[in-house]
C-alpha cells in the first residue's frame, strides 16, 4: 500500500493545480469549523465579564482571568459531579469488559453446543428493546432509582461491543492454539486467563475505551433515573441543567444583563467538562479508529 502511494506520487508530483489548492482549502475550512468553536468557548471562559457582555470575545481571551475557574473549583456540586462521573465510568468499564469477555469467549468457540441460539439471544437486543418506560419501571421495581447502580448495571451489556469482541476473538485465537492447550490439560478458564486475554490486549483496550467514553458522554439514563438525589448527578447531567438554565433565560435576557454575567461561567463549565476528553483524545483516537474497522467487518 505504501509503495503504491509513492508510485502515484511520482505520477502526480509534477502538477499542483488549482484543484489541489481548492481541495486543501476546503479541508482546512472543515477542520477549522471543528476547532474554532472550542477556541471561542475557551477564550470566553478566560475573559473578563465586561468584554463578554460587550460581545467582544471571539477566538482570543480579552482581559485574561481565571476567575470563572476559581468559581467552578469552589462549587462543591460541580466537583462532586466530576467525582460521580469518574467513579461511574470506572466501575462501568470494568463491569462491561468482564461481561463482554465472558460472553465473547464462549460464543467464539465453534465447539460450543447451542452457539447459534445463544448468540441470537444476545444479538436480538440490538434490534428490539422494551423501551424507555418498561426499563424505567424495572429500575424502579429493583429499587435502583436515584442510585449510581441505575446508570452502571443496565447498560453494562452491549451487543455491539460483544459483536466486535467475538469477531476479534474468532479471528485472533485460532482453534488449533486452543486445542493444543487443551491437550496439555488446560481447561477453558485456564485458556481464557493465560492465552486469550494476554493475546487480546489491543481489542480489550479498544473496547474499554468504547465503554468509558460512551459512559462519560451519555446523560439520557441519568436524566431519567437520577431525579431526587442531586448529589449523584454525573458531570454531563450537571452541565445539562446549566444548559437548561441558559435556554430558559433566553426570554429574560434583557432583564438579566445587569446581573453578573453567567455566560463566562457557562463557558468555563463547558471547558471543564470537555477537558478530560480532550486530554485523552490524542491517545485514544487510534484505538477508536481500529474499533470502527473491526465493527465494520460484520455489521
Amino acid at each position: 500500500m505504501k509503495t503504491s502511494g509513492s508510485t502515484l506520487a511520482v505520477y502526480r508530483k509534477r502538477r499542483f493545480d488549482i484543484w489541489d489548492v481548492l481541495i486543501h482549502l476546503s479541508l482546512l475550512i472543515a477542520s477549522l469549523a471543528c476547532l474554532l468553536p472550542f477556541l471561542h468557548v475557551v477564550s470566553k471562559s478566560l475573559s473578563e465579564d465586561a468584554f463578554v457582555i460587550a460581545n467582544k470575545v471571539f477566538i482570543w481571551p480579552e482581559g485574561f482571568t481565571l476567575g470563572a475557574y476559581e468559581k467552578i473549583f469552589a462549587d462543591d456540586s460541580i466537583i462532586r459531579s466530576l467525582y460521580v462521573s469518574v467513579l461511574v465510568t470506572v466501575l462501568f468499564t470494568v463491569l462491561g469488559m468482564i461481561i463482554t469477555i465472558c460472553a465473547a469467549y464462549p460464543l467464539s468457540r465453534k465447539q460450543l453446543k447451542g452457539r447459534t441460539v445463544l448468540t441470537f439471544i444476545f444479538m436480538f437486543t440490538l434490534y428490539f428493546s422494551g423501551g424507555i418506560i418498561p426499563e424505567y419501571m424495572l429500575i424502579n421495581n429493583l429499587g435502583m432509582l436515584d442510585t449510581i447502580w441505575s446508570i452502571i448495571l443496565p447498560p453494562a451489556f452491549s451487543a455491539f461491543n460483544l459483536l466486535i469482541m467475538k469477531t476479534a476473538l474468532s479471528s485472533s485465537i485460532p482453534d488449533s492454539l486452543e486445542e493444543s492447550a487443551r491437550i496439555d490439560g488446560a481447561g477453558h478458564f485456564r485458556i481464557l486467563v493465560s492465552i486469550v486475554i494476554p493475546l487480546s490486549k489491543p481489542i480489550i483496550a479498544t473496547l474499554s475505551l468504547f465503554y468509558a467514553v460512551g459512559r462519560w458522554n451519555t446523560y439520557q439514563d441519568a436524566l431519567f433515573y437520577i431525579k431526587q438525589n442531586v448529589d449523584l448527578r454525573p458531570l454531563q447531567l450537571k452541565l445539562y441543567y446549566l444548559v437548561i438554565q441558559a435556554s430558559e433565560s433566553f426570554q429574560l435576557e434583557s432583564t438579566q444583563v445587569s446581573l453578573s454575567n453567567p455566560e463566562v461561567l457557562k463557558a468555563s463549565c463547558v471547558v471543564f467538562a470537555t477537558l478530560p476528553i480532550i486530554c485523552v483524545y490524542p491517545f485514544i483516537q487510534k484505538y477508536f479508529v481500529q474499533g470502527v474497522m473491526l465493527g465494520a467487518v460484520k455489521e
Binding site: M1, S26, A30, L32, V57, I133, Y240, V243, F250, V289
Partner: protein, 321 residues
C-alpha cells in the same frame, strides 16, 4: 491425542449426516466452563434487556399506580387508538421521519465527499492533522455540543451573531425560530459526524488495487475521471450497505441530540417520538400511553431493519444480521 481427534472427526461426520444423537449432558460435561462463563452475561441480558419486555404489556392495560401492574384493567388496543388520535403523535412521527430523512441527505453524504477530498491529499502530515481535528466532535457528548451551539448561535450574544452584527448585518435567530432551528440542527449533525464517518470510506478506498489507478492514468484519465470511474465504483458496496443500514434506522431518533438542542422558543420540530415518550411517561406519569408509543416505534423500527437486511442480501451484500 489420536483418540481425541478421531472422536472429533467422528463427531463432525455424524453431524454432517444428521446423526448427532449425543445429549446435551455430554456437551455440558465437556464445556461446562464455557457455559458457566456465559451465565454472567446471560443473567444481565435476561434481567436488563428481556425482563423489561414484559413491561410492554402496559401498552394494552389502563395502568393506574394505585392498582399496580397486575391489578390494572386490560384495555386492548384502546390506548393505541387514543394516542393515534393525539395531535402530538402525528407531529412526533412526522418530525422523527423528517429529521432522520434530512440527516440521511446531509450527514450521510458529507463523509463520502470528505473522504474523497482527504484521499487527494498527498502530504501525510496535513492529512493527519485534518483527520485529528475532524474526528474531535465525535468524542463530545450532546450536552457539550448543545452548550457550545448556544455559545455560538444564540441570538443576542452568540459569537456568530456578534460577528454578523459587527459587520452590520441583522442578528439571526439560529436556535430560537423553528425553521432556523431545523437547519441548525442538521448542520450541527453534519459537523458532529462528518469526520468520523470518513473512516470506513477511507479504509475502503485504501484497499483499492493501485493498478486500477495506474491503468486509468495510462488511459489518460484526469483527477475527476479517476474519482468517478475508479474510486466511487470501488466503494459503492460500502456506500450501499451503510445507506441501507441508515434507512433501517429512520424511525429511531437520538433523544440526546434533540433534547440538548431544544428550547422553549422552538416546539414545532423538537417533538420526536423518544422525546414524546419521555414527556408522556417520565414527566407526566402516563405510563400506558408512553409505553404504547415506545412499542409502536420499536415494532416499526424492527420491521424496517429486517426489510433493510432483506434488501441488502438481495443486492448481494452481506446483510446486517
Amino acid at each position: 491425542m489420536k483418540i481425541e481427534s478421531a472422536s472429533r472427526q467422528n463427531e463432525t461426520a455424524l453431524k454432517n449426516i444428521g446423526l448427532d444423537r449425543r445429549g446435551m449432558i455430554h456437551y455440558l460435561r465437556r464445556d461446562w466452563q464455557l457455559y458457566l462463563l456465559l451465565m454472567i452475561p446471560l443473567a444481565f441480558v435476561l434481567v436488563f434487556k428481556y425482563a423489561p419486555m414484559s413491561g410492554l404489556i402496559l401498552a394494552f392495560k389502563n395502568y393506574k399506580i394505585a392498582k399496580g401492574f397486575w391489578g390494572s384493567e386490560w384495555a386492548g388496543f384502546e390506548i393505541f387508538r387514543e394516542i393515534f388520535a393525539k395531535h402530538d403523535f402525528g407531529r412526533a412521527v412526522r418530525n422523527t421521519i423528517m429529521l432522520n430523512g434530512l440527516d440521511l441527505l446531509f450527514s450521510f453524504t458529507m463523509p463520502i465527499v470528505l473522504a474523497l477530498l482527504l484521499n487527494e491529499i498527498r502530504s501525510v502530515r496535513f492529512k493527519r492533522i485534518n483527520q485529528t481535528l475532524l474526528y474531535l466532535p465525535h468524542f463530545l457528548s450532546w450536552i457539550i455540543i448543545g452548550a457550545i451551539a448556544y455559545q455560538l448561535l444564540s441570538e443576542s450574544n452568540g459569537a456568530i451573531n456578534n460577528l454578523i452584527a459587527m459587520m452590520g448585518g441583522d442578528r439571526i435567530p439560529f436556535l430560537q425560530e423553528d425553521t432556523h432551528w431545523l437547519i441548525s440542527y442538521l448542520a450541527i449533525g453534519v459537523w458532529q459526524s462528518m469526520g468520523w464517518g470518513t473512516i470506513i470510506y477511507l479504509a475502503s478506498i485504501s484497499s483499492i488495487n493501485p493498478e486500477m489507478y495506474e491503468a486509468a492514468i495510462v488511459d489518460g484519465a484526469g483527477r475527476w475521471r479517476k474519482v468517478w470511474n475508479v474510486t466511487l465504483p470501488s466503494i459503492r458496496v460500502t456506500i450501499v450497505t451503510l445507506l441501507i443500514m441508515n434507512l433501517g434506522k429512520v424511525m429511531e431518533g437520538s433523544f440526546e441530540r434533540v433534547f440538548a438542542l431544544q428550547n422553549k422558543a422552538t416546539t414545532e420540530y423538537t417533538v420526536t417520538i423518544p422525546v414524546l415518550v419521555y414527556r408522556w411517561g417520565i414527566e407526566s406519569g402516563n405510563f400506558s400511553r408512553a409505553t404504547a408509543l415506545g412499542l409502536f416505534q420499536a415494532v416499526i423500527g424492527l420491521v424496517l431493519v429486517l426489510a433493510a437486511d432483506r434488501i441488502a442480501k438481495k443486492l448481494g451484500e452481506d446483510g446486517l444480521l
